[in-house]
């Protein structure tokens, strides 16, 4: 039976996009703030918004949305959901501060202390890593759900979150004229290539691990690879979400096509985002459709 609807899928996806965009923005800023300025600012401008939309979805997935505030008056260290509620609260706050910091650098031109800015970045880095990881941990700690109860789920969703963040940045940059002499493109395509390669590895390890696990895990795997979710999984996630963007990134790196080709970046980013949404939907549904066989 399905208890968590597509609202939860959307939430996991939007949290991944926000966390990934902020992670890349801060990381790019630490590597070279001048060269990768557009990655830094675009990531910072994206970060606060998807998760806000996701939070609204999350609240409306509750059976009693009016009581959502109870999450923010309680802290249960054993509950990943309680820990997560606090993480996303802090993340949302810090992502807005980070957004304003970048906005002021570009437009407001106020004076800021470098140590304070660096502190925000380091806290932000910890928080976006936590957001990207906790969504997977939320699922992987349930022993009753064999499809979720594997350490690969958080790893897979973490890598997918960074890919989604990169795709969101790449998508926005398609609408800006090229002025970076290919640095940005190289960053995006190298990132895509490495991360999609990792995601492919994670997926293969996950599938083999699930297939060689318990009987109920094998049933869950059957639903995904040859059952009711197979079309979504193979076409929506594997082909559209991983293989096609991976080939596009590899092609652009191999052919040294480092000039900005907005149409290819646009399609590739859109495909990666679609795959990121679909893989979460498949994981959420497959986990709920199957249960540990007890007797």
């Amino acid at each position: 039976m399905i208890y968590w609807s597509s609202l939860i899928t959307f939430y996991l996806f939007s949290a991944g996009v926000s966390a990934g965009a902020m992670l890349l923005s801060i990381a790019a800023g630490f590597i070279d703030p001048v060269k990768y300025k557009r990655i830094v600012t675009t990531g910072a401008y994206i970060a606060p918004f998807p998760i806000m939309a996701g939070l609204i979805m999350l609240i409306f997935d509750l059976e009693r949305p009016g009581l959502f505030w109870l999450l923010l008056t309680t802290f249960k260290y054993k509950s990943i959901m309680s820990i997560g509620a606090w993480i996303i609260t802090f993340f949302s706050t810090v992502s807005i501060i980070y957004f304003i910091l970048n906005l002021q650098k570009d437009y407001l031109k106020l004076k800021t202390r470098a140590t304070a800015v660096n502190a925000i970045k380091i806290v932000g880095l910890i928080l976006c890593t936590s957001v990207a990881l906790y969504t997977g941990l939320l699922l992987s700690t349930l022993t009753a759900r064999p499809f979720w109860n594997t350490p690969m789920i958080p790893v897979l969703l973490f890598v997918s979150a960074v890919i989604d963040g990169l795709a969101a940045i790449s998508l926005v940059l398609c609408f800006k004229p090229d002025e970076d002499k290919g640095y940005i493109n190289t960053f995006i395509h190298t990132g895509d290539f490495v991360l999609l390669y990792l995601l492919l590895l994670c997926t293969v390890i996950f599938l083999i691990g699930i297939g060689k696990s318990t009987q109920s895990a094998a049933i869950a795997l059957g639903i995904v690879t040859s059952g009711q979710l197979s079309a979504l999984f193979w076409v929506g996630f594997v082909a559209v979400g991983v293989v096609i963007p991976f080939i596009a990134a590899a092609y652009k790196l191999c052919t040294k096509m480092r000039v900005h080709t907005p149409w290819l970046n646009f399609i590739s980013a859109l495909f990666a985002l679609t795959g990121g949404y679909i893989v979460r939907g498949v994981i959420i549904d497959a986990g709920q459709l199957t249960q540990a066989i007890l007797f």
């Binding site: 959502f68 054993k78 509950s79 959901m81 700690t141 009753a144 709920q288 540990a292 007890l294």
Partner: protein, 189 residues
């Protein structure tokens, strides 16, 4: 049926379900519905029919299932608001005032013991008929069973029937390897 005998210290309630005696009459399900005033679509207990073997060596059994009142309950540890909690007498209970209906506990329960109250939106489940226990009566499903499938009692009382049965070789705990430490013991036929 007599009311559960209390030992000197606080009780630790437990149940034994002997499936070899179950005929699948569903009286326990009806009694539970009646006692907890449940709508027809919501259940705190159920009787699963399991078929095994191959014709002509074929058989089936009835397996009554409900909240196992685990000593390491996943539903309690996942609850983000503290609505699900473990009482000192071993009962896993829900403070419906604090339940936000996130359904995380439903997904965490390997026994499919929890259900949503469609009218109010909170999650609820078997509470070992705590009100009846308070009045020294047996839970509704135990008292109503015509074939004596269910034995209920206090594990802290070494002389109770449940203490003796729980220590015998023939009982099993379902889903034990998920580390839930259930308070319901089964004799599987």
């Amino acid at each position: 049926m007599s009311a559960p005998v209390k030992s000197g210290k606080s009780p630790k309630w437990a149940m034994l379900i002997d499936t070899t005696k179950c005929v699948g009459c569903l009286a326990c399900v009806a009694a539970c519905h009646n006692q907890n005033e449940l709508p027809v679509t919501e259940f705190f207990n159920r009787v699963e029919e399991q078929e095994f073997g191959r014709f002509p060596n074929y058989n089936r059994r009835f397996l009554p299932m409900q909240c196992q009142h685990c000593d390491n309950p996943p539903c309690v540890s996942v609850c983000p608001t503290g609505a699900s909690y473990k009482r000192s007498d071993g009962i896993v209970a829900i403070d419906t005032q604090r339940c936000i209906g996130c359904k995380y506990c439903i997904l965490s329960c390997p026994y499919k013991a929890r259900t949503i109250n469609r009218e109010h939106g909170f999650v609820h489940k078997c509470g070992f008929c705590a009100v009846l226990l308070h009045n020294n009566a047996l839970p509704a499903c135990v008292g109503t069973c015509p074939t004596g499938v269910r034995v209920f009692g206090d594990l802290n009382d070494p002389n109770s029937e449940i203490s003796n049965l729980a220590a015998s070789k023939k009982v099993v705990q379902i889903g034990k390897d998920l580390n839930t430490k259930p308070s319901i013991y089964y004799i599987i036929g």
